[in-house]
Structure formats: structure tokens, C-alpha cells
Symmetry: C4
Subunit: 231 residues, 4 copies
């Protein structure tokens, strides 16, 4: 009997297992919608009450699910301290610890959405991307390091050029880092930008080199995926 | 006789078929230009009248075309409920239903432009790209899912950091979602951006991870195209 | 004798030919710097005079070069009406036709810079990129078409959503087209952006699809280059 | 004895060599954090004093390291004038030349961070990326040239269109160049953008061609990496 329930809860081999997984996913999506709606500041009292009731209902379901997963787990402690075990616990905990109601911990439920990727069709896709990322791991870490050093170089450089001209916007290297981030990722909000000739020329050099640094990871992933596909 | 007309209308094998198709395309382009011009608020009355007459003329042509396509279709109901049959109908319908004159439905005519891609030279190109997309379909759906979860994580996170500091700009998770969209796609309009130190640091992490998520689809398409080319 | 000069002027096989070519390139660069400087509105009179004299000097050199090229050309008319012959002529003409002094025609000299790519080391690189682009030509034209249709769809859609809310910024489909261009290329100046909920959701869909359309050309070029390299 | 110290200082073959290298890296990171903090304008006097003492301590360590490296170097002059020798010297020099305290020269210490990439695991990754860049070097230089010419064409073009309408923002070709840079890299701060119809249409063409020019380097790197991986 326990074996049967374990199969349903832990695997997606049987029809019942897939249905169970999809139901859990559905309730995660609903719970995310519910507490997204709760953040709207102009809601009517009646609607808030409905949302709170829904929240209580869903968290109860999640509690049942957690207890069920704990119950069927072969090694109880291993489950509790596993990654998904922690995520599941954190997803229901903030409801009980009202004084510690950080939305970010609630948002951990979002992580549970990733479980959907384990379902049938996408599992081969998932393993392909994963093995490509594993092949390219060190190359990616390297380019991330280069990107970080690039970010720092850009921040120090622009600080030198712009601090005197815009002491409020480039007040320290940390403010400059924010500029460097928004610029090298090409987001460019437009809240801070260089106004001196030197700062603009420096930005030009940084962008030409920096976009190269950004183009490398895309190339790394493409070539790793090509390698995985050819096997 | 019907067979001949069918060949002209439905295929581009014969010279007459290509001419028919190009003529239809031409009128689609003209009709798009015409109703683009109609949206300009400072037109003179005379010009508007000319445009309206042109519109009537083109829609009449489209009606003839629809009737012709219906007439030559082997299975009438199948044609009416086929994708292109629906598009063709929707492209002429709003003209008659004046009370339902949504520009978006008129804009469906734009979809008919895609038919040009079926013409001669581009058909092998088209099928190559299509088979690459088919190979990469599941990988792309996976990365789209990852991108959507990323968007949600970013919205919940930034809401936590910025809601207190900018209650008007990050008033709910939905407003934060707009920020997350503009940031992770690197559009960065600059209408909303984090101002707290925590929000800026969070944005940094989100961007570094998020741009990786965005680089993966490009790599997927590149490797799929490489595979298709090598066959 | 003429044969010798022809070799120097038209080819870069000999040492003298390379020197001639580099000298011409140098003067093009100088002339570009000179008329860039001329556009600065706050120059002193003395400096402007120096620049004008330099301009006269360089244009005289270009005239000599043009005459020389005409003189050594085997087929005179073919040279005059060839692409580079036209560019060379247009590069000196605006100086004499003072009433027609468009900077854009002067800027045609920039095109002459491309000639530097014919020099030794880069010619194999050039031919590799060129043959990759030739292989990928139809795929690229196709994605360009798809991108253009996407741009039009985005403009019509956003017009529908935003015209009522921001009649000054989205006053016609053409204004919306400017927004669509800045958004789909992820430039995002921030001069126009949607403010209605509908417009923002529409932007979300357009961006997710649109960035896919933009990712395809990068993949096409990568796979074509891979193919060229493997030969 | 000297041989032993040389091994520790110059190579990472032995355990001691790795520890030495990591310690140096650690102090570089600390020194960067220290002088980042020093740029914050609102620090208390006590904290500034602590930072200055830390700075003195770290620079002393760097001096010792430099002397040590000089001492163990086989060819003294070669070390002093080598790239890393110069960087090491410049990293400590500004501390003694107080009148010449440019933060950018201090920031040269950032370059020393790149040494971490020589450590064990990443060295094969590093050499792979390096050989890919070497393969693609000429292609990349070519596309960089094309990008630069593109930038110039964009600047001259937009100057022609916008100078009359916005004489303060597009006052010279150099101001236009700043716009071209922010636009073609898709940063789009929003401090300068075209407002005339002509300028907007021109921007459209420039962006469509320009983003192609930007997509080529990514493709070049991807195909070069694929080639390196297949060997």
C-alpha cells in the first residue's frame, strides 16, 4: 500500500503519479496568483477575505502534501534536509510564522514550478541542456569571472571621469557599479549616464570590449549544445 | 476549367499562380499602408475620403478573392474553418461590422503577408528554419518556462525590496512584473528602476542569471540549425 | 610604364601598391576627422581656417587620385559607372557644388574605408564571412521579413491599446512603429512606453516572440560560419 | 633555496605555490574593497582611518611581493619591463606618489585578478577560449572594423537629420557619435534620441543593419569554439 502511494507521490511513472504532480503544480500556480493579487493595494475588503480563505485552503493542502511526502519517504531525515524538502517546508512555514512574513520566502514556491520540467516529454530536453551546461561549466565560470572583472574596471574608470562632474550620481564606486551593470547588460535605464567627454569615450571602449565578453557565453552554450547534439 | 482556376488560386506552380499570389500580396501591402495612413489624426478631409474609397475598393477585391477561394476549394467547410480561411474572413469582416471596428482584427491582414514566404526561392529556407525549430521545440519550450519562472522570481524579489521605497512605482507584484519584463529583455525604458541598495544588488544577480537564460535559446537555435545544415 | 602605375593604383600585389592604398586610406581618415571637427559649433575662426585649408588640400589629393584611377583604367566608362568609381566621384563632388553640401554625401567617403579590408591578411577572413553570408542569405532575408511583419503587428497592436491613453505619444500607427522599433531592438530610449495594463501585457507577448525572431539571425550566421569553417 | 622560493612565487605546481597565489589574490580583493569603500563620501573619520591603515598594510605586503618577485626572477630587467611586472609596480606606485593619485592606476590591480585564471582547473578552459579567439581573431577584427565604420556612418547620418531640430543635443558629429554608440549597442540611455521623422526612419535602417553587424561576432565566436571543441 505504502509502496503504491510512494509511487504516486514520488514518481511520474504511473497515470496517477502524473495526475498528482499536475495537481500539485496547479495549486502552486493558484497560490502564486493568490498572493500576487494580495499585493494590490486597492482591493476591496470582501475580495481580500476571499483571497485569505483561498490561501488558508491551499496552505492546508501543501501541509497535507508535505506530511504525505514525509510519510512515504524511505529516509525521513534525508527528505527533510534535501533541497526539495527544504523548499516544500519553506513554502508553508511563513504562513504560520506571521511575524516573519517575507514575500521572498513565499516566493520560494516558485522554485517548485521547476518540478514540472521533470514530467515526461521534457526530461530528455532537460538532460540535454543540463549536459551541455555541464560540458561548458568551466568556460562559463571563466567568462563570468571576466565579466565581473570587466564590471569592476568599468566602475573604477567611470568614477574617475564622472565623480567631479556628477558628484550626486557617481558619488562612490558602488554607485558607479550600478551604472556599469545597467550599461554592460545594455539595459540602460537612463537614470545615470556619463556627461563628460572623457566618460563618454571611456564608455565607448568599455562597451566594445564588454559586449564581446557578453557574446562569448552565448557562443560557449551554442558550441556545447552542438557537441551534445552530435553525440 | 475549375481545375485551372484552382491551380492559379491555390498553388504557385504556374506563372499565373505566382502572378495571382503577388497581386494579392501587393493589395495586402497597399491596404496596410491605407489604414496606417487613416490613423494619422491631422489628415485633410479630402485625403481621408480618397483613403476610404481605396479601402472600399481593396476590401471588394478581398471579398472577390475569398469567394473565389471558397468556390475552388474542394472541401468548402474545411476551407472556411482552416487557419487561412479564418484569417481571410477576419480580414474583410470588420469592414462590414462597423460597430466592431477593432484595428487589431484588421491587422490580422498582416498575417496574410506570411504567405509570401511560400513563394519559390524561400520555400527551402523556410522548411530549413521550420525543421530546426521543430528539432529545438522542446528545448525552446523549456527555456521559455525557465524564463517565465525567472520573470516571476524577479517580480516577487523586487517587490520585497522596492515596495516600501517606491510605493507608487512598485505598488503590486504586477507592477513589478512590468519592471522585470523591461529589465530581463534589456529594453530598460527607464520608467521604473530600483533605487534602494538592496534592490540594485538584487537586480545585479537577476541580470547575470537572467541574461544566461536569454543566451540559451540563441544557442539552441544555432545548434539546431547546424544540425539541419549537416544533414 | 602605364602598366606599372596601374599595378600600383589598382592592386596591392607590390609593396608600392600597398603603400599607395594605405596612404589613400590615411587621407580618408584625416578627411573624416577634419569634417567631423568642422561640425563643432564653438570653434575659433583661426582653427576653422586651418581645417578649411586641410580640406582643400585633401580634396585636391582625392582629385589627383580620381584622375589617376581614370587614367590607368582600361575601360574608362566602366570605371566611371562602377560602384567604387561613383563613390570616389561623390567623395570629391560636394566640395565643388557648394550649394549641395550635404554631409551625408561627404560621408560616402566612409564607404571607401571598406577598401582597407581588401588588404592582405584580412582577405581570407573577408571571403569566409562573405561566403557564410551568401550561404545564409535566404535564411537571413526570411528572418528579416518575419522581423518586419513582427514590427508591423507590434505597431498596430500597441496603437489599439495606447492611442486612447496617450494620444500625443501614440498618435498614429507611424508613431507606434517608432515605439515598436525601439522596443524590439531592445534599445528602449524611454521616450515612449505603454502605460495601460493592456498595452503592457501586449508588450510582454510581443517581446517574448520578438526576441525569438531576433535570436534566429544570430543562430543562422553561427551555423553558416560553422559550415564554412568545416569545408 | 632560491629555486624553491622561485617555484612557490612563480608557479602553481606545488601546494605552497597555490597557497601563495591565492593569498595574493585575496589581498588584491581586500585592497579593491578597501579603496572602493574609501570613495564613499559619507564615511565617519574613524572608519576612514581604519581603511587607511589597512591600505598601508596591504601596500606593504604588495611591496614585499614585488621585491620577492624581483629577487627570484632569473632576468631582472625582463621582469621589470614585462606586462605583469609593470602592472605590479603600477599597483603600488600611486601610494607613494600622492600628487599623482589617480584611482584608475590603482584600479590596475584589477588586472592582477586575471592571474587567478591560470590556476589548475580553469587553465584548459582558458586555453580553449584563447585558441578559439586566436582562430577567430581576424574575423573579429574585421567585424570590429565594420562596426566602427557603421558607428561613423550612423553619426554622420543622424547629424544631418537632427542637427537643425536639436542643435543642443546633436551639436556636432562627436555628440552624434555618442548617440550612435548608445543606440547600436542597444543601451539606449534615453538622454539623446531622434525626434524628426527623417531621423527616426534613418535610425530604423541603421538598427536593422547594425544589429546584424553585432550578431556576426557572436556567430564567429560560436563557430570558432565549435571548431576547437571538435579537435
Amino acid at each position: 500500500m505504502i509502496q503504491k502511494i510512494r509511487n504516486i507521490v514520488e514518481t511520474t511513472d504511473s497515470r496517477a503519479g502524473v495526475v498528482f504532480d499536475l495537481l500539485v503544480q496547479l495549486f502552486i500556480v493558484i497560490s502564486i496568483i493568490v498572493f500576487s493579487l494580495e499585493t494590490i493595494p486597492t482591493l476591496s475588503k470582501e475580495f481580500i477575505e476571499v483571497l485569505l480563505k483561498l490561501e488558508v485552503f491551499i496552505v492546508s493542502l501543501f501541509c497535507c502534501e508535505y506530511v504525505l511526502r514525509f510519510f512515504v519517504a524511505k529516509r525521513k531525515t534525508k527528505f527533510v534536509f534535501s533541497f526539495w524538502g527544504m523548499v516544500d517546508l519553506l513554502a508553508i512555514l511563513p504562513f504560520f510564522l506571521l511575524s516573519f512574513d517575507l514575500i521572498m520566502i513565499r516566493a520560494l514556491r516558485l522554485l517548485r514550478l521547476f518540478r514540472i520540467l521533470k514530467l515526461g516529454r521534457y526530461s530528455s530536453s532537460m538532460s540535454r541542456i543540463m549536459s551541455a551546461l555541464k560540458i561548458a561549466k568551466e568556460d562559463l565560470v571563466l567568462s563570468l569571472m571576466a565579466a565581473l572583472i570587466m564590471l569592476l574596471v568599468a566602475s573604477f574608470g567611470i568614477y574617475q571621469f564622472e565623480n567631479t562632474a556628477q558628484p550626486d550620481k557617481f558619488s562612490s564606486v558602488f554607485d558607479s557599479l550600478w551604472w556599469a551593470l545597467a550599461t554592460l547588460t545594455t539595459v540602460g535605464y537612463g537614470d545615470v549616464y556619463p556627461i563628460t567627454a572623457g566618460g563618454k569615450i571611456f564608455t565607448g571602449f568599455i562597451l566594445v570590449i564588454g559586449l564581446g565578453v557578453v557574446a562569448v557565453p552565448a557562443g560557449i552554450i551554442a558550441s556545447a549544445l552542438t557537441e551534445v547534439r552530435q553525440k
